[in-house]
Symmetry: C2
Subunit: 150 residues, 2 copies
């Protein structure tokens, strides 16, 4: 574990979200490993391999007019050229409007993510991304004990 | 990457879910790394460190009378003593009944998980677990385009 490594990992993570914000598919693709990768978007099943994963981002970018990530609680642990980063994604997004070219209604969302990076000769690259919605207690009616384990 | 490694990783993963099924807190604790770990249960925020993570499992075990995991779509990739495993958890669970000692109503649930393991001298240990609900299209009313990226 090294301080340098942590800064590099956080930089790769920031680049990932900035590519999403810009809708920059090329930059996003370059940030993923070339071999076996996996990705789980909030509420989605598992996507495996570059084909499935990158197609999902192309689809999401096509359906997203505006998106901004405010990352909080970024925590990084690192060992043997691998890093596990967890963070909270405070998302503000807007889809295309139904009619006309105006921006659709903005929506706020709270997502937590586990991003796994591997160090390569070209820098840190994404091996796995898993995002899931935070169903906060205030949204439920005393159903917090019903949460499912694992 | 080795075939042996893959079998060992799957074995550690199976042991993790079996410990949960048995409500075996000691076995579950032993399967996690000693240092910085993270865990995200479906709908929960991030839990970091052994204290937070193991406390959550103690809480879940106390509130779960019965739980069974049918794992499908297990996929493993491995590099540099680290393995990323994704799987679908088909969960059947029941909480304690409100009154009397009988089993509460059984509930089925579909969860996808990303489990990150690290090889140690005592075998593969969990570094990170992230589970999230699968919100299938059939449960929504044509809202699949609203899915949030990342």
């Amino acid at each position: 574990m090294s301080g340098d490594g942590y800064a590099d990992v956080e930089q790769a993570n920031t680049a990932f979200y900035e590519a999403l914000e810009r809708g920059d598919f090329e930059a996003l693709s370059a940030l993923w490993l070339d071999d076996e990768i996996s990705c789980i978007h909030p509420g989605w099943p598992v996507l495996s391999g570059r084909g499935e994963v990158l197609r999902s981002y192309a689809l999401i970018m096509a359906n997203t007019e505006y998106i901004q990530f405010f990352l909080t609680d970024v925590k990084i642990t690192e060992a043997a050229d691998t890093a596990v980063l967890t963070c909270t994604e405070n998302i503000l997004s807007g889809g295309p409007a139904d009619a006309g070219g105006e921006l659709g209604p903005l929506m706020g969302q709270l997502v937590v993510a586990t991003n796994v990076f591997r160090r390569t000769s070209e820098g840190w690259r994404l091996w796995s991304h898993h995002g899931s919605p935070v169903l906060t207690e205030s949204d439920d009616e005393g159903e917090t004990e019903e949460e499912t384990p694992a």
